[in-house]
Symmetry: C3
Subunit: 210 residues, 3 copies
């Protein structure tokens, strides 16, 4: 039952991340096959790493090829319609925020349903949420979103922690999913909109920068 709910959200996250991958492809003026590859890798990348690390076999998109076909379809659609958007990078960032929040919960939820320890479930939420975007940025030759100044990994961490914490204390899964998702999205959106960030590392004044 938890798994079914998580699966539905996983589809949504995967679709959204595919669009962000396709938007990176559009910034690099790739052809439609490049869109399909970059969109699919971004959509299924985080969950693939999660399944490989947890030793879940067959991994989700090999068990259910419709995942990959969805990514391909969404990416190809983006090829034809992305030119309508005026500010593609801004859309990319906002969609990435929703995908991040969804995958933080579904990544943690999948691990949790698999019987994994709480700390590791949180780690899996972070890995699932961030690695699709990391692979997208590396393959697409973009500066990694993970290095941006605003709150990013923190949002995935907080969302996954809220979800796992509530599950551990016996809250209903609907509540755990909803609050975890809202926490992650709110933090990331706050980071994007107001430029909020945690204090960053400050080298000692006068230190030789090497």
């Amino acid at each position: 039952m938890l798994e079914n709910f998580i699966i539905a959200l996983d589809w949504l996250g995967l679709t959204i991340f595919s669009i962000t991958g396709a938007l990176v492809a559009s910034r690099k003026r790739m052809d439609i096959v490049g869109f399909a590859l970059l969109g699919s890798v971004t959509g299924i990348g985080g969950g693939t790493i999660r399944d490989v690390l947890l030793g879940i076999q067959p991994i989700f998109w090999i068990k259910q090829p419709l995942y990959v076909l969805t990514c391909v379809a969404v990416s190809c659609a983006t090829f034809f319609f992305a030119h309508i958007l005026q500010h593609r990078y801004r859309y990319l960032l906002w969609l990435d925020a929703v995908g991040l929040a969804l995958f933080a919960i579904t990544g943690a939820g999948n691990a949790y349903a698999h019987g994994t320890a709480s700390t590791i479930s949180v780690a899996m939420g972070i890995a699932t949420a961030t690695f699709g975007g990391i692979i997208r940025d590396i393959l697409g030759g973009e500066s990694p979103i993970i290095l941006r100044q605003e709150i990013y990994i923190t949002a995935a961490l907080v969302g996954a922690t809220v979800f796992v914490g509530l599950m551990d204390t016996g809250a209903s899964q609907d509540v755990a999913v909803a609050l975890g998702f809202i926490a992650a999205l709110a933090l990331r959106v706050a980071g994007l909109h107001w430029g909020l960030s945690l204090p960053r590392y400050q080298p000692k004044a006068g230190t030789q920068q090497d």
Copy 2:
């Protein structure tokens, strides 16, 4: 039987990709151990990802260490003989084309022989064919071939699709392998030689490029 044939072609693809990895090492003026590492990772990288995703254990080069030793030997030979070549990057591109075509078929064939769904077998062909080169370019600090303007991923896609489609319709495996390989190689070579490419994404005229 399909597996035996595929294994023979796999050796060839692995040798060729090792040379391309060693050629990237030569462009970076690495030492002989760097050649061995970059050559080996390029040679076995795509198949490793395929085996990990399919959950095949032990993965092919752990089961048969001769694969790795071959990569190391070929890479070391390249260290001593690459200086003979006048235009190393051109050789790299052409060898990469042959390796791409071989691995598109063997990657799809391995998955197919493993009983994987047709769509996923095609995806495995693409992954096996492209990921060795992607890892090579990232580790070697080269601009990824995957982002080049000519037909690249498309060649792997078409080759793997022809192979899987023919197998599905009951063609003999020799025919499926031969036609799939020719389709992939012909497309990539056409891309390299005539600069053929699919239409690339065009942003809307006057769109703010962000």
Copy 3:
């Protein structure tokens, strides 16, 4: 028994590599969560790839979450204390050298204890020792240490070979671990301190550089 000894050294290597990951985070002025992610990925990255390739499930830090918590704790401590260091990149290089030597032995030792062939055990030593740093440098946007001019991969290769060779000839494991570690560390330190390196690839004089 070999495994217990290896595990102790693994903790040490993991802690040291976490610090190097956190030092890269400090060079990029990341926030404390960025430190935790980059430190953890660097600390557990090499061993994760080793376990995934060997098909060991659950992988070490999922079986024992304390590994990840240690990485997080060490990385966070680095956030607060790294500014004390005058020459952070120099510390990063020296710590990386110790981690490299430790992981070359523990990576090979884990594979060896798992019953893997000698050549593959050496390959696992190299992979475990180098991939944490490779992932760190790619995620942190640094020029990969692996491409530096001094002896690096060679140190891991020699250390792992000494260790596996001694184990194969029936030496006591203490001796094998100690000599392997010393060999790897001495080589890397010699490379760093005196700029020692193997002969690098030399293109033919007058060759067109393409």
